[in-house]
């Protein structure tokens, strides 16, 4: 069990993220454990993963296509997106697509090179849980949520962009 951040709180977490080794093999895990499986491996044999006692979730690599997951989304309690390097921003678009286009309602988790300076953006595009990188402090990462109190954009958290809210205010004043 490790600690993660979920909905702005540090919580312990029962999921085990499975990453393939160099030969492409996943580690052996007891059937009752809850596992997060690479999407590419899951989609090769989805039926096989249903036979486990524990829960199954998937994680997407930056070059995975979220559209391929769309019809299965409702069956997953958790979907994760991997950030192999924090400078690889593809996962932000994946987050928005899962939430906005494919209407995913469950837990959306960021994995990998994830820490304090990124959680604000990740939260905006729809992530609500964060597996903070080894060696980085979770309490520090919590501070990241409060970095900005306002934003200009239309985001999944706040679809009305600032320019619309500004003008509504003006109309109210008038």
């Amino acid at each position: 069990m490790r600690s993660i951040i979920k909905d702005g709180q540090v919580v312990t977490d029962s999921w085990t993220v499975l990453r393939p080794d160099e030969a492409g093999q996943l580690p052996e895990v007891a059937s009752e454990r809850d596992v997060v499986v690479p999407f590419a491996i899951w989609k090769a044999e989805p039926a096989m993963w249903q036979n486990r006692a524990g829960q199954v979730a998937v994680w997407l690599a930056p070059d995975d296509e979220p559209a391929e997951l769309a019809t299965h989304l409702a069956s997953f309690p958790l979907v994760a997106v991997d950030f192999p390097a924090f400078t690889d921003g593809r996962g932000y678009s994946i987050g928005r697509l899962l939430r906005e286009r494919y209407r995913y309602q469950g837990e959306l988790r960021a994995l990998g090179d994830v820490w304090q300076d990124l959680v604000h953006y990740l939260w905006q595009v729809g992530f609500n849980s964060f597996e903070i990188k080894e060696g980085k402090n979770l309490e520090d990462a919590l501070k990241g949520f409060g970095t900005f109190s306002e934003r200009y954009h239309s985001t999944w958290r706040e679809p009305e962009p600032l320019f619309r809210r500004r003008n509504s205010r003006h109309e109210n004043v008038a």
Binding site: F86, T87, D88, G89, R90, Y92, S93, I94, R96, E100, R101, D117, H120, Y121, L122, Q124, V125, T147, F148, S149, E150, R151, Y152, H153, S154, T155, P159, E160, P161, L162, F163, R164, R166, N167, H170, E171
Partner: protein, 552 residues
């Protein structure tokens, strides 16, 4: 001009505090060099040859006098008393101390300025025509859209970590003065068959290692859709742009790989999901931003008043300056004055604190307290009465701003080069100066007429050498500085990438090569042809022959 409201202030102040904390954590060893680098770059901070370099955003090249005074103050307090205007209409300081950068940012925030996204793999400062709002050929004032794009691009959560930098330019006039064809995205105003005004969307232009003229992916985009359409373009780029090789990571490579039609189809498909969403601009939203750019209180005046016409007739030097360093204005009796930062012996684009304060003073005394920065690295007083021009000219001369060379060969666009930049292969400043000295005869310079001369110290092309009518590129050959010359490049509605004329030159031989090129032009030109027109007509071959001819 745009004024921050409480929310804009808050966002910029929170950004300053975020960066202060990031700097503290870096200095305390909590952030590694590899972690801090992208974070500091996104705030315009480079580690350079001598010291850090801080690049400050001047959104679409607009400055208020109080902002320019603040830049002068920063130059004096935190730097060596001068700054440098870049081709993205920004200002760079070359000598700030790392630990003091958060304080500089805090000072900037007081006057509604910042360094957000002036570097890094994110959306950079949006640029436009330096004469926006005052140009006579304007179809639409691009500045409200620039401000809307500035806000949209500022800390956009989806696009903070793109494959590579991303530059947007907007042009609202018939003649494109914003180089929209050599940007990652160019928006150039058009009127459709129904008389409606919108933007032509150009994608995948750019200079650098692989110079390309952009491709039109949409002939007409109604103005209220610009943000959703930009979201669609950026999302396609963010997801599919190459991340394995930084030299192939710009959007132009993706556009080429997918073909412009293929890229456009992907964008249109993405846009179907975003179109008419909450980021669609309503009339009331555009009106809100446009209200900041209403005309100042111009006086009703006659064009070419008597005193002005008399001075033009009697003072040849003044007339020459007016001809080259001022531009016609939409308001009769006014002109825009271009203060040349291309005086021989001064690095192009450099400006001292004293000069900044002088410009701020003049902008208030003779205008409405507004200043523009041109991507050609000159400073503009947009609204000067013709009756004040003689006095402005004298003041400009006293500060070294009145070299009558705007648009001429010695008005060289130039990057800081190897004297400052750690990326550069060669120095640019001394070579630019040698060219300026070679062509110091004003009569000859004026006879040569309009010539864009652009100079980059390396293939990153900050000096836009590819679109210079004559371009210079610094190259490294076994540790020595050499210079390649290109001809035939141009910006504007007929943007073209220049072609290399042949083997590169040693530093000392560049001015002579220029002289030979200009001599041939003078011999060959017909009926007042501009330099670029002669190059286009006769091609490169005669120039090659002349420049590389063996002496007998």
């Amino acid at each position: 001009m745009y004024r921050y409201d409480e929310v804009d202030y808050r966002i910029v102040r929170e950004r300053v505090e975020q960066f202060r904390d990031q700097t503290r954590r870096f200095l305390a060893g909590e952030l590694s060099e590899d972690e801090f680098r992208p974070l500091r770059l996104m705030n315009g901070l480079y580690i350079q040859r001598h010291a850090p370099m801080l690049r400050i955003a001047i959104p679409y090249g607009h400055l208020a006098s109080r902002q320019l005074r603040k830049l002068a103050h920063i130059a004096r307090t935190y730097d060596k008393g001068y700054g440098h205007f870049t081709t993205r209409q920004n200002m760079q300081f070359n000598w700030p101390a790392l630990e003091r950068v958060p304080d500089i940012l805090a000072e900037l925030a007081e006057v509604e300025m910042h360094a957000i996204q002036t570097s890094g793999n994110c959306v950079r400062n949006t640029t436009t025509d330096a004469f926006a709002g005052v140009a006579a050929d304007e179809l639409i004032d691009p500045r409200p859209y620039c401000e809307i794009i500035r806000q949209w691009s500022t800390l956009h959560p989806e696009f903070a970590f793109l494959p590579r930098k991303f530059k947007i330019a907007v042009s609202g006039s018939v003649e494109d003065r914003a180089a929209t064809l050599v940007h990652d995205v160019g928006l150039h105003v058009v009127r459709n068959a129904d008389g409606e005004v919108g933007f032509k969307v150009i994608v995948g232009g750019g200079l650098g290692r692989t110079p390309m003229v952009g491709e039109v992916i949409r002939e007409f985009l109604p103005t209220h859709h610009i943000l959703t359409y930009l979201d669609a373009i950026l999302r396609v780029y963010n997801r599919y742009g190459r991340r394995d090789n930084k030299y192939k990571a710009r959007i132009k490579i993706l556009v080429k790989a997918l073909t412009p039609q293929g890229f456009a189809a992907k964008v249109e498909d993405e846009w179907l999901h975003l179109k008419d969403g909450p980021a669609t601009l309503r009339d009331v939203d555009v009106a809100h931003y446009a209200s900041f750019f209403n005309d100042p209180a111009y006086e009703t005046r006659a064009a070419n008043p008597e005193g002005f016409a008399a001075k033009l007739a009697e003072d040849r030097a003044f007339a020459r300056w007016v001809e080259h360093n001022t531009r016609t204005h939409k308001q009769p009796g006014y002109r825009s004055v271009v203060l040349s930062l291309k005086k021989t012996g001064v690095p192009p684009g450099d400006i001292t604190a004293e000069q900044m304060e002088a410009v701020a003073d003049w902008s208030e005394r003779f205008g409405f307290g507004e200043i523009r920065v041109a991507h050609e690295q000159n400073v503009i007083l947009p609204d000067v009465k013709e009756s004040d021009l003689y006095e402005v000219w004298q003041l400009a001369r006293s500060q070294g701003f009145a070299t009558p060379n705007v648009g001429l060969l010695t008005d060289i666009i130039c990057c800081p080069g190897g004297d400052f930049c750690s990326l550069a292969n060669a120095r640019s400043i001394p070579v630019a100066e040698a060219i300026q000295r070679k062509f110091d005869d004003l009569d000859y310079l004026h006879d040569l007429g309009e010539i864009d001369c652009n100079f980059s110290g390396c293939m990153n092309a900050c000096g836009h050498h590819h679109i210079g009518n004559i371009g210079i590129l610094g190259v490294d050959k076994n540790g020595e500085e050499w210079y390649q010359i290109t001809l035939g490049g141009s910006q504007g509605n007929h943007t073209a990438i220049g072609k290399v004329i042949g083997p590169s030159f040693a530093q000392a031989d560049v001015p002579l090569a220029f002289e030979k090129i200009m001599n041939l032009y003078v011999e060959q030109r017909q009926d007042g042809e501009r330099f670029i027109e002669t190059v286009r007509r006769i091609g490169l071959e005669p120039f090659k022959e002349r420049v590389y001819a063996k002496h007998h």
